[in-house]
């Protein structure tokens, strides 16, 4: 696609003798170095130029120097020349290069004129543009007055044949076009070394540099059709523009050629190429910038909306917090504990702690009842228990022990009396477990002393 910025460019054919400035619908002839008042694409095409495809060996970077030396050696150029390669196709041992050579002094003058112009003057050799129109397998014929140039892209490799008619008479042109076809067939497409060439070129385009509307137009149409038929190629139409110079009408392929223009085809200094590329990119960069700006504004809008929502939510949460604080403050008077609550709790705790201790009265009653079966209770006492980790100030734990003997006049045998003693205690709420007798009543006279540890039965442990 043609960059939008190139629409502002004028188009111009440039030769040694003058310039043909093409603007929409108009042709204006100017001196060779005319005053430039607008950006212009200058397509250089002059009879003094040398155009060809050379087969060279070595480094393609040296192609220009090699061609320069060859052209001078062959006498094709007078004096120093400037060689501009347009296309290079490598092969294993050598390479083909399509080039145009211009007289050096004239070329320097053109470059100087372009550099001094207040507007951008893009200098492009016509061959560079013509090659740019060709994809692989495509060919073209370029007619400049009586000069015919056939150019083909054979799998990326340039191939060229040129012929020159004696005059611009239609018959001469037609016969020269026929001759061109023979040359093409003979030198390129059926060349033994490039045997597959005829098959891989499929289409033909026809470019006419500048021709008066009328007879030549019909001649070009006929020639292009005949050439395509002779070469067995499909004719690919090229849109030529009609322009007026005064009352004279011409048609030219220049606008169509300039559609293929790009900065890389320019022969200007690098700064001009970069400048043009920057100008070509500027609209896209501007559009991208605007798109980014719109996206950024969209994002900003979303963020702003979120911020408003978050602020509203924060205010709502603050209102909830205030309501909760007010409810808390209203309840403050109900939080006070009654004056003597702690003292009452302490009293209840103290009484509870006392009630948890062994009840001597209840123990005595139980033992008195249990001993009625012939067991004589000798001693009821506590023995302190060492408890690891007992907290400071807490009451020491104690075991309750009872020493007893079976009286000699007991109505039951010793074991039966003790069994009844234990069972009676159990019914009274105490679990009696036999222990070693540690007390002084072990020395009781003439009778065995039995010692028991008494523990209150838990709820549900009763007999």
């Amino acid at each position: 696609m043609k960059p939008a910025s190139l629409h502002a460019f004028q188009h111009c054919w440039l030769t040694r003798s003058g310039a043909e400035l093409i603007s929409p619908g108009r042709l204006e002839r100017r001196p060779a170095r005319f005053a430039v008042d607008q950006d212009v694409i200058v397509v250089v095409d002059m009879p003094e130029q040398a155009v060809d495809v050379s087969q060279l060996a070595g480094d393609p970077a040296h192609a220009a120097a090699l061609i320069d030396r060859a052209l001078r050696g062959q006498g094709l150029m007078e004096g120093a020349c400037v060689v501009i390669p347009h296309a290079t196709a490598r092969r294993p041992a050598d390479y083909d290069v399509l080039f145009t050579a211009y007289p050096a002094d004239w070329w320097a003058g053109v470059q100087s004129w372009a550099a001094e112009a207040e507007h951008l003057v893009a200098i492009v050799p016509v061959m560079a543009l013509l090659w740019a129109t060709l994809a692989k397998g495509q060919a073209l014929v370029y007619r400049d007055a009586a000069r015919f140039t056939f150019l083909a892209n054979i799998d990326g490799r340039p191939a060229m044949v040129a012929t020159q008619a004696f005059s611009e008479e239609p018959s001469d042109l037609a016969s020269t076009a026929a001759l061109l076809c023979e040359s093409v067939q003979a030198q390129l497409l059926t060349d033994a070394g490039q045997g597959s060439g005829a098959r891989i070129v499929a289409t033909l385009s026809w470019f006419t540099r500048l021709a008066p509307v009328g007879g030549d137009e019909m001649a070009d149409a006929g020639m292009s059709l005949a050439t395509a038929q002779r070469l067995g190629l499909e004719l690919r139409p090229v849109a030529h523009a009609q322009v007026l110079q005064g009352s004279d009408a011409f048609w030219t392929c220049l606008p169509a050629l300039c559609e293929r223009f790009s900065a890389r085809l320019m022969t200007n200094p690098p700064v001009d190429r970069y400048s043009l590329r920057a100008r070509q990119l500027l609209p896209r960069a501007s559009a991208a910038g605007v798109a980014v700006a719109l996206l950024a504004m969209l994002g900003a809008g979303v963020a702003g909306g979120l911020a408003v929502t978050e602020y509203a939510h924060a205010r709502s949460v603050d209102a909830q917090a205030d309501a909760v604080r007010q409810a808390t403050a209203a309840r403050a008077s109900q939080e006070q504990l009654p004056e003597n609550f702690k003292a009452t709790v302490a009293l209840v705790d103290r009484i509870g702690a006392l009630l948890e201790r062994p009840d001597t009265t209840r123990l005595a009653q139980a033992l008195r009842l249990a001993g009625s079966g012939g067991v004589q209770v000798m001693r009821l006492y506590t023995v302190p228990v060492k408890v690891e980790g007992r907290r400071h100030g807490a009451e020491p734990a104690a075991r309750v022990l009872v020493d007893a003997i079976v009286r000699s006049d007991a109505p039951l045998a010793v074991q039966d009396a003790l069994s009844r003693f234990v069972n009676t205690l159990r019914r009274a709420g105490y679990l009696a477990s036999a222990v070693e007798s540690p007390g002084r009543s072990a020395q009781a006279v003439g009778a065995a002393v039995f010692s028991y540890e008494l523990k209150p039965l838990e709820a549900g442990e009763g007999a």
Partner: protein, 163 residues
């Protein structure tokens, strides 16, 4: 292609100053985005702070409710305690400490009665040792031993209602 007609005002403005306008728009958009993001960050901070204040207020309210419930419980507790005559100002403590006293059985019974629990009187024994002074007689024995003494050790504390 160049046009012979002059473009309209807005188109001309856009055509001539497109890069500058695009740059200005982009800058304005970036500044707006930055401000909006900053505003959003501040709003989120405020929301976070408000949520923290609400959490603190809710926690304090829960504590307040717990204190009110405790106060109600305390009032009910005092009512029940009063019904049981458990007013602290009407209760007193007394320590009892008798160490290896050889006493007659009537005196021993009298002493042990002090260790008997009843309404308005609670005794908790820390240590006791009650044995017969004579190895021939038990604690609860026959009439023949009634003259014998008992050896009593009793240490504890009595809490009793004064009125």
């Amino acid at each position: 292609m160049a046009s012979n007609q002059e473009p309209g005002g807005w188109r001309r403005l856009w055509g001539e100053y497109r890069p500058a306008l695009a740059l200005a728009t982009l800058c304005a958009a970036l500044v707006t985005t930055f401000l909006a993001q900053a505003s959003l960050r501040k709003a989120r901070l405020e929301l976070g702070a408000a949520q923290q204040r609400l959490a603190q207020a809710t926690a304090k309210d829960k504590e307040s409710q717990d204190r009110v419930a405790l106060a109600a419980f305390a009032s009910e507790f005092l009512r029940q305690a009063a019904r049981q005559q458990l007013q602290p100002e009407r209760w007193a403590d007394q320590a009892i400490a008798v160490s290896q006293a050889r006493i007659g059985r009537p005196e021993a019974v009298s002493l042990l009665l002090q260790a008997q629990n009843h309404a308005g009187h609670v005794f908790g024994a820390q240590e006791f040792d009650i044995s017969s002074a004579s190895l021939k007689a038990g604690l609860f024995v026959d009439t023949a031993a009634r003259g014998e003494e008992l050896v009593v050790t009793l240490r504890g504390r009595t809490t009793f209602r004064t009125q």
